[in-house]
């Protein structure tokens, strides 16, 4: 077959299909999302039945895949690093209980972080959970490791983790696809309550077996660290790296003309780290530089007296190990001339909600109605409501509702409660918002919850949400609507409104506030409903005006700063606002923002 230019995530998807994976589940999250998306796009290449689902959250995704593995089939579950926190409960127990058909948990880490609420290291999670983890250095290796991981998983009947990072997931490389394996397995669940339903009585024995397996896995020949030996000119000195840091190191060594001068090790499996490797490093080297993202996982297990790494602070403990940072670290370690001061962080222009985004209209109204309000929000595009001053907290999936309740109870003790407006996206609501809503209702919190319903998981590129009635791959399925869920949770104030209708939306916000303060009041829910404008169908179905700014404009900047539509900017002298017609979608939501009615709309000819 010919080479294809594949993104790391597509390469992993290819690997899954080629390895005969029959059940693939995921919850979307950057940088992991394109893995399941590519499985969907490539499902025609599978030679056996392949079941795919976008699950409602990572815990559910994990459990669906797990049971499929009990039947003897190969399965995979995909998530981002913080998704593993959500799936932690089943993940931890699976280490003891094990699996039957190969089970692969693909967890994409985000050192930096680029698009996450932290930069936790899944390899350290695996050390705690006692789960083997593979750390690929390139998209091609990530693909190859899929089948390695399935074989390992089946040999030891254990769940195995593949941990790519953002730089693997979102890199492209030319890769040769191969033909998929035909495993011809039929579902065959062998009942064994002492294992699949193991009570505490059986767990010490299962734990013992796990420990014995880990000892064997650590010395698996195919998973031993790989050495590119130096010529001895840097005696008793070694460089040890894993993941993308290893690839950066290889290029750096080449640039510096140090090829085959110093011993260079690639660690394929950071946990369990090979005891043979540990012994050899202790015996044969006095100084060892360890480069890994993000936490010192290899370093901790190596416990080498001459180790130079994150624990001593020679290698930065936070952020990515970029080629520039690695240059400094390696130069310091090998006593080379240090590179010039590396430029600071390359952040550049901050992102903002898209032109015409319905969330912007909703946030603007919220801020207008309650200038002194407290605004807990959540994970998604709408985090960018921060730019409008309408997002005060962002924590983890679904936290905003519970945080809103927490704020209420703390203020309520003192008598004077500010208006608390929680904003949560539709996908996040289904993921983890429902238990928090029920809790807020029964604990009698008096808060407004605005569910930002744009009928998609916009942040990650538009995966279906339960109330759309669409399954992975676009097939129709049952829709689970938001309104009955909210009502069944005991909410008595429930309204739905398009935030493009500023007057109606603000009227409802004021009513909701009054309700929360009335004697019989409680949680008020307002569903802000307007499709995501990234969705072409939405864009086509809504009216688009020619929006311009006339010379009534007094240059107050309100539309640019407070409303911050990226299609609005000040002219070169800063005297007047302008509409960038390349970016404006003609939604007209900016019109009411202008205090002097200088923004006007006309029908497009």
């Amino acid at each position: 077959m010919t080479k294809e230019l594949l993104m790391g995530n597509e390469a992993i998807a290819c690997g899954l299909i080629e390895a005969g994976c029959q059940v693939a589940t995921a919850y979307p999250g950057t940088p992991s999302t394109e893995i399941l998306q590519a499985v969907i796009d490539r499902q025609d290449t599978a030679v056996e039945p392949l079941y795919i689902e976008w699950s409602v959250n990572e815990k559910v995704a994990f459990e669906v895949a797990l049971a499929a593995s009990y039947t003897g089939k190969r399965c995979a579950v995909v998530m981002k690093q913080v998704g593993l926190n959500v799936a932690a409960d089943p993940f931890m127990r699976t280490a003891y209980i094990g699996v039957k058909g190969g089970m692969l948990t693909i967890v994409a880490d985000d050192p930096g972080p680029h698009s996450s609420q932290n930069e936790q290291d899944t390899r350290l999670f695996c050390l705690q959970a006692r789960v083997p983890v593979l750390d690929p250095v390139s998209p091609a290796e990530a693909k190859a490791m899929v089948s390695t991981a399935f074989e390992l998983s089946e040999k030891y009947e254990l769940n195995v983790v593949l941990r790519p990072t953002t730089r693997i997931c979102h890199s492209r490389q030319n890769i040769t696809p191969t033909s998929p394996l035909k495993l011809s397995r039929v579902a065959d669940f062998q009942r064994d309550p002492t294992r699949w339903a193991a009570t505490p009585a059986f767990l010490p024995q299962l734990h013992r077996k796990l420990n014995a397996s880990l000892e064997q896995i650590a010395v698996e020949p195919a998973l031993q660290p790989r050495l590119i030996a130096g010529d001895g000119s840097c005696a008793r000195t070694a460089l040890v790296a894993s993941g993308i840091a290893y690839s950066n190191l290889v290029d750096l060594i080449d640039d510096l003309g140090l090829n085959s001068k110093v011993d260079l090790y690639q660690v394929l499996m950071p946990y369990p780290l090979s005891p043979i490797f540990i012994r050899s490093l202790h015996e044969n080297y006095d100084r060892v530089l360890i480069l890994e993202e993000t936490y010192p996982v290899i370093e901790l297990q190596l416990a080498h007296p001459g180790a130079v790494g994150k624990q001593g602070g020679a290698v930065p403990r936070e952020g990515e190990l970029t080629p520039d940072i690695m240059h400094q670290v390696v130069a310091g370690f090998l006593g080379l001339t240090a590179p010039e001061e590396t430029p600071g962080e390359r952040r550049g222009q901050r992102p903002s909600l898209c032109p015409g985004c319905p969330h912007r209209a909703a946030f603007y109204s919220i801020k207008q109605c309650f200038p002194k309000g407290i605004f807990p929000s959540d994970i998604g595009c709408y985090t960018l409501g921060m730019n409008l001053g309408a997002v005060n907290t962002v924590h983890c999936m679904g936290a905003c509702i519970s945080q809103g309740a927490g704020f209420y109870h703390a203020y309520q003790q003192d008598g004077d409660v500010p208006t608390i407006v929680v904003t949560i996206g539709d996908s996040t609501f289904f993921h983890a918002g429902i238990p928090a809503l029920i809790n807020a209702v029964i604990q009698q919190a008096r808060i407004i919850i605005v569910i930002l319903d744009n009928a998609t998981t916009a942040m990650t590129g538009g995966q279906p949400v339960p109330h759309m009635g669409v399954a992975a791959g676009g097939e129709p399925t049952k829709a689970v609507a938001i309104e009955p869920l909210v009502r069944a949770s005991g909410v008595e104030f429930l309204e739905v409104c398009d935030p493009y209708d500023k007057h109606a939306f603000e009227t409802l916000l004021v009513q909701a506030d009054a309700y929360t303060r009335s004697p019989e009041g409680g949680v008020a829910v307002l569903i802000s409903r307007h499709g995501c404008v990234m969705d072409r169908k939405v864009l086509k179905s809504q009216e688009s005006f020619l929006v311009t700014i006339n010379d009534k404009c007094i240059g107050c900047r309100k539309c640019v700063d407070a409303f911050e539509c990226p299609a609005l900017l000040m002219d070169n002298d800063g005297n007047m606002a302008l509409v960038n017609q390349d970016r404006c979608i003609g939604c007209g939501t900016c019109l009411p923002v202008c205090p002097v009615d200088a923004i006007i709309k006309e029908k497009k000819s």
């Binding site: 430029p343 550049g348 909600l353």
Partner: protein, 175 residues
């Protein structure tokens, strides 16, 4: 043959597509290629950077002062990304003002063609015209045909050809 290229812009400008076209040209030639891209939150109008490394490399990332070519779709990114370029690196910028580097008002040209996002291919055309890239005009055309959605192929090629044939007046003369 080794070449390190950066493509810089803001979310929504077609940085990813331009990156893929360049990488595809390398694939078609049978050369090893690695790219790194920005996805996620920054794609909502924030600064995005792609890197492309053609030839024998292990990592897709580029160290400061190592890039041979810089394609900047957003002039303001000069501050954040220019330091990636070698002293001898070639810098091509989409801009309507005349300052450092080779500039072209790619957005205006693209707007004339009906869509400002086509500025990405206008800039690619200029880069090829300046012989800044490892690949030829024909190779870029082939990659564009492969990657663009069928109904946009002609429009994309038109944008590429505009860049290929424009630039400063003396280059227009010999096109």
């Amino acid at each position: 043959m080794k070449q390190q290229i950066i493509v810089s812009g803001i979310g929504g400008q077609g940085v990813l597509f331009l990156t893929r076209v360049i990488a595809q040209a390398a694939v078609n030639r049978g050369m090893p290629v690695l790219t790194a891209e920005t996805h996620g939150m920054a794609q909502r109008g924030g600064t995005v950077l792609s890197t492309v490394k053609v030839g024998d490399f292990a990592s897709p990332l580029i160290r400061s002062g190592q890039a041979d070519v810089g394609l900047l779709l957003w002039e303001a990114n000069l501050q954040v990304h220019a330091s990636l370029l070698k002293n001898s690196g070639v810098l091509l910028i989409n801009s309507d003002t005349a300052e450092e580097g080779e500039r072209i008002d790619a957005s205006a040209i693209a707007r004339d063609l009906g869509n400002a996002v086509l500025s990405n291919l206008v800039l690619l055309g200029l880069a090829v015209r300046r012989q800044a890239l490892f690949c030829s005009a024909e190779e870029c055309e082939a990659a564009i045909r492969q990657l663009a959605p069928a109904k946009f192929v002609e429009q994309n090629l038109a944008a590429f050809h505009k860049g290929l044939g424009s630039g400063n007046p003396d280059s227009l003369a010999d096109s």
